[in-house]
């Protein structure tokens, strides 16, 4: 078991919901990223999702697009992202790190080289937004050898047959995209998403995390009632964007924001 599987197993046994937090590497500069990751953990994050800056982030809303542009402007290549993870690992060898990005970043490095370097840096999982499982055979082969979980997504439009196929191919957890739209959209319908989450959890023994449109303690609590955990991204990235001129204040701002979401989650009622 890698750190991700161990952590999610521990949370499940304890009956706790997982809090997955997302920030983009190198936003606003590489010096901020490692302190920010530690602050997220201090605030109560269970899993760290770290964005790989990419020039053409097709599925992101404006907030995360802008973060990718800031990451690129600060020179944060995939190699640097892996260096930042390795740096974080020097003082935290327990918290799982999941990279999120677009396939061309991995292809440019090479699937095998990426898997080896990512394992060495201390990466536990990978989310590739534009890589459906049908196209993932080669990358999955090398990730498996490196004990890195390829996390797959299920959307509101995914049919039942397809969801069965996706969950049969997934590792770590299944990421449920809670709405039709890009990251950070405001159109989350908690009732519809809740019903889909209950359906999805019947289909798979893997933990199911719910993301897109979760921005605070209330929405985190509402969605976590139907899932094993939630992903919060755009709300945290917006905090980073607002503090762009005073990056020294970013870690503390993230810590207190995540602590508030954590306390909301911990008050979550047990799901039916």
């Amino acid at each position: 078991m890698n750190r991700l599987e161990t952590r999610l197993e521990t949370l499940r046994e304890a009956g706790r919901k997982a809090l997955v937090t997302f920030i983009t590497a190198g936003d606003p500069g590489p010096a901020t990223t490692v302190p920010a990751l530690h602050a997220l953990v201090e605030g109560g994050a269970d899993v760290l999702e770290v964005g790989i800056p990419f020039s053409d982030p097709e599925a992101e809303g404006p907030v995360i697009q802008a973060a990718a542009e800031r990451g690129l402007a600060s020179g944060t290549t995939l190699r640097k992202v892996l260096d930042l993870v390795a740096d974080f690992r020097r003082t935290d060898d327990l918290t799982p790190v999941v990279l999120m990005g677009y396939l061309n970043s991995i292809l440019a490095m090479g699937s095998e080289a990426f898997a080896q370097r990512a394992q060495h840096a201390g990466v536990d999982g990978l989310i590739m937004v534009n890589l459906p499982p049908e196209e993932a055979e080669e990358l999955r082969f090398f990730l498996d050898k490196a004990s890195i979980s390829l996390i797959l997504l299920v959307a509101p439009t995914t049919t039942e047959d397809r969801a069965r196929y996706i969950t049969s191919q997934a590792a770590g957890f299944v990421y449920y995209v809670s709405l039709k739209g890009t990251t950070g959209s405001a159109s989350l319908d908690p009732v519809a998403a809740g019903a889909r989450l209950r359906w999805l959890r019947e289909l798979t023994p893997l933990p199911v995390m719910c993301g897109f449109g979760i921005r605070d303690a209330a929405s985190a609590r509402a969605m976590a009632a139907h899932a094993d955990g939630v992903v919060v991204g755009s709300a945290l990235v917006a905090t980073i964007a607002a503090l762009g001129t005073q990056p020294e204040n970013i870690p503390e701002a993230l810590r207190s924001q995540v602590a508030a979401i954590r306390s909301g989650l911990d008050r979550a009622p047990e799901q039916s």
Partner: protein, 408 residues
């Protein structure tokens, strides 16, 4: 161009590729939210394409609305001027809306209506695909929204106004490099959010499956006509077909019906911009690497970190960092060859065609003409060459006038 002849020609081992793969290229690399919509579109498209009622509707629109067939014109003065191969122009510039783009929008809009989707979206660079989409949306009474890079909105103000006259909403895209690739990203984001009501009309033979196959089939009317016209007007098949390649839809449309005619040489011409050696170009087949962008695996202009590079061409319609996956495959197997022409060469060909034939070509098509101008003598006077004149150049007048120092 009937379904029967098309399926007979489907003996090509990649004519209807499995899951949209052309060798290592193509495929379907999109966010999960779009997978079901692409599957439904694939099924609907495949059944429509072999449905005689759909074919009749499509062909009727091409004849009565677009004005097909387009002539195969013998460019006699150009031939004499260049002193070599006999040159024929496939006159896609004479289509309604002034370019080959409309062949595809007519077909896809009919599909949108079959799917009962009341809204269509499109991306556009120079504005030709946007105009062709807005045109067919107006005709069928569909809501239309066109994404266009903010830089291109500034450069192509006439086409922006034209789309608005046609009732379309034009949305300037301010993310990334503010050009065609960013317009495509934004259209994808719209589609993810509105997939239940909206059909996305991609303008070229790129994107996730089924777009490269579907757009190719709609554009293949160019090559089917050219093949029949060659047999009648030349008395045999041509020796060389030449077309410019940005995404590559006019080139695939011309090439595809000739794929099995192995004696016919297929030449695509990319935009070399300020020169391949300068890095300021839009020639992924000449100087790119294989990667994944906009839903398909293909040759791309990308750096060592996989970031998509900004491209340059005098022609906005060729100013794109990727290329249709079938072209990447034709390059890999050696069935087609891909050359490049610089901004200066294209401009010279643009001026030449104006003067010796009285035809104003699009700057995109001028790249294909530039290759012919370079090679005509070497090909020899026995060679019969068809150049796809993919669009007319009215839209480029202001660009060219500015280069000549004429302010408007």
């Amino acid at each position: 161009m009937t379904p029967e002849t098309n399926s007979a020609r489907g003996a090509n081992h990649y004519a209807q590729p499995i899951d949209g793969h052309f060798g290592q290229h193509g495929g379907r690399f999109v966010a999960e939210t779009l997978m079901q919509a692409l599957e439904e579109l694939t099924e609907l498209y495949q059944s429509a394409w072999v449905d005689p009622a759909f074919q009749a509707e499509f062909r009727r629109d091409l004849e009565l609305f677009v004005g097909r067939p387009s002539p195969l014109y013998p460019a006699e003065r150009l031939t004499r001027h260049l002193g070599g191969a006999r040159i024929w122009l496939k006159r896609e510039d004479l289509n309604h809306t002034g370019a080959h783009k409309v062949n595809n929008t007519v077909g896809q809009a009919l599909l949108a209506r079959r799917m009962g989707k009341p809204r269509i979206i499109a991306e556009t660079g120079a504005g030709q695909h946007g105009v062709a989409t807005a045109t067919i949306a107006a005709r069928l009474g569909l809501e239309c929204c066109v994404y266009m890079g903010a830089e291109d909105v500034k450069r192509q103000s006439l086409n922006v106004y034209r789309m608005k006259l046609l009732g379309a909403e034009v949305i300037p895209v301010t993310s990334g490099s503010k050009t065609l690739k960013d317009a495509l990203n934004e259209a994808m984001r719209d589609w993810v959010a509105n997939v239940d009501t909206t059909h996305y009309i991609i303008g070229t033979v790129a994107g996730p499956h089924p777009y490269p196959v579907m757009v190719r089939d709609f554009q293949s009317v160019i090559g089917h006509e050219a093949r029949a016209q060659s047999l009648t007007q030349i008395g045999r098949l041509p020796d060389v077909l030449v077309a410019c390649v940005g995404g590559g839809s006019n080139a695939i449309g011309l090439f595809h019906p000739f794929i099995d005619d192995h004696d016919v040489r297929l030449v695509g011409v990319e935009a070399a911009g300020e020169g391949l050696a300068t890095g300021r170009h839009a020639a992924p087949l000449n100087a790119g690497r294989v990667g994944v962008l906009h839903g398909n695996r293909t040759y791309l202009m990308a750096d060592d970190d996989g970031q998509i590079m900004e491209t340059h061409s005098i022609s906005a319609g060729l100013d794109y960092p990727g290329v249709g996956p079938e072209h990447s495959y034709l390059k890999d197997i050696g069935r087609a060859e891909y050359a490049a022409a610089t901004d200066d060469e294209a401009m010279a060909a643009f001026r030449l065609l104006n003067r010796v034939e009285g035809i104003l070509p699009a700057l995109e098509s001028s790249h294909a003409l530039a290759w012919v101008a370079r090679e005509a003598r070497a090909l020899g006077s026995d060679a019969e060459v068809i150049v796809n004149l993919s669009g007319r150049g009215d839209k480029d007048i202001l660009t060219v006038a500015a280069l000549d120092g004429i302010t408007t």
